[in-house]
Symmetry: none
Subunit: 242 residues, 2 copies
DNA sequence: GGAGGCGATGACAGCCCCGTGACGTCCACG
DNA sequence: CGTGGACGTCACGGGGCTGTCATCGCCTCC
């Protein structure tokens, strides 16, 4: 467990050799690189010298108390921890949860289940990015998260109304295309016939929130005599801007 | 699969030999006793003659329709069923879940994932005691222990009602996603059509218990004209707060 | 350069949507 | 049989959203 490798590394902290041996075997069989230590002091040293991807920590430990080990582990690094607790000991469990344990297994437990939980926690904690499953639209400093129904500009959330949001999304999804007001009314509003000025006004309000300079729009551009078009920011190097 | 044994027995129903062979191998490797049949008629006969602990059922079957097989299986005995469905075919999946399938996997799927689901379903249905372990959801000072059906905030247990709990768990499991009231009614309440205000009111009550300042919600955020969204506390460094 | 037309702007009224308080019912428990 | 909590529903009120219009400015074409 000294070198970075494709395999994820798990540190098992338990003073009972029977437990740690079985657990270690199962984890290795599941493809993990496993290290085992028998008390809290060693666990801290080991974790500091060679940080694992996850720690399986028995709360009942000789010497240093398990919760204390847990606290210090977390003080060193935000490593995911799966706790092993006695069935009855609810207080420890609560304290552990509060301190930030990622999961727990009560004794007696099936090694297979422990492996499942370890995998599950690693999956959860290693892929917070994959959570952003929804489609993301992007243009310059503009970011639209469809699933979240959220618009960011320069990292800050933008307060768009429902209509403004719909309009922006439609335009972003169809960049570099000019649309007449009729088309926009039909596509965004779902209306067949209506007052064109509705579109005009909403475009204005959208510009005020989306354009660097609303009076000289670079994103939502008017095509005189026709309608509007979304122009994505050109990908330019700095000198081209001069 | 004729005698009761320590190993749990799984019946795989799929007409594609490639699929059933791979699935069978993985399940056996995971310690299950596996039987494979290729069509629905045989599946029913087999299940009746020698009831398995769980059935893996492909919904796309020659001869008897998969859903029909499912219905008759359940008519015979309350055996847990994990469905295999085509990715696009949401209608079948919904019907299956509606009828009481315990889990589903969409094609293409990884055999390992299927094994995990099979194990998970069996654990759920066969070992209510082992449920004393739990997946933990977390956001800031909020901690939800699914197995314990327990919610902590700042270390103190929170008195949520059943609906409030369901709502919170659903939102926590789907953070950063905006849901309409219809969607929430369907997902959390299991209703098809109902009064939207039901959602509104429950959101309010949940906020009163979960939000630091219920009148300025930061967790359960309303998306005007759309619905609600759960925003996890941002993980920020100090300087970003300025 | 001037006239006509189109788009931008500011303002406003109606309305929709959300939050809130309150009430009736159902169910569990004493 | 009475009590209390949970749940769904409703009426009310306020604030924001939305569509419309009049006016002004600017683009286009002659």
């Amino acid at each position: 467990m000294t070198q970075a490798s494709a395999r994820q590394r798990v540190l098992v902290v338990d003073d009972d050799p029977t437990v740690s041996e079985v657990v270690g075997r199962y984890l290795e069989h599941a493809g993990f690189a496993v290290a085992v230590v028998a008390d809290g002091r060693l666990a801290l040293d080991r974790a500091l010298a060679d940080p694992p991807d996850l720690v399986v920590l028995d709360l009942m430990l000789p010497g240093l108390d398990g919760l204390e080990v847990f606290r210090r582990l977390r003080a060193q690094a935000p490593v995911p921890v799966v706790m092993l607790t006695a069935l009855g000991d609810e207080s420890d469990r609560l304290v552990g949860l509060e301190l930030g344990a990622d999961d727990y297994v009560t004794k007696p437990f099936s090694p297979r289940e422990l492996v499942l939980r370890v995998q599950s926690v690693l999956r959860r904690s290693s892929a917070p990015l994959a959570q952003a499953q929804g489609t993301i639209l992007r243009d310059g400093d503009l970011v639209v998260d469809i699933a979240a129904h959220l618009v960011l500009r320069g990292g800050k959330p933008l307060a768009l109304t429902a209509r403004e949001y719909d309009l922006l999304v439609f335009l972003l999804q169809n960049p570099r295309q000019a649309f007449s007001r009729e088309q926009l009314l039909k596509q965004v509003w779902g209306w067949e016939y209506a007052d064109h000025s509705t579109v005009t006004v909403h475009v204005r309000r959208l510009r005020e929130k989306v354009e660097p300079d609303p009076r000289d729009p670079t994103r939502v551009v008017t095509v005189f005599g026709v309608g509007y078009r979304y122009d994505p920011s050109p990908v330019v190097s700095a000198e081209e801007l001069v």
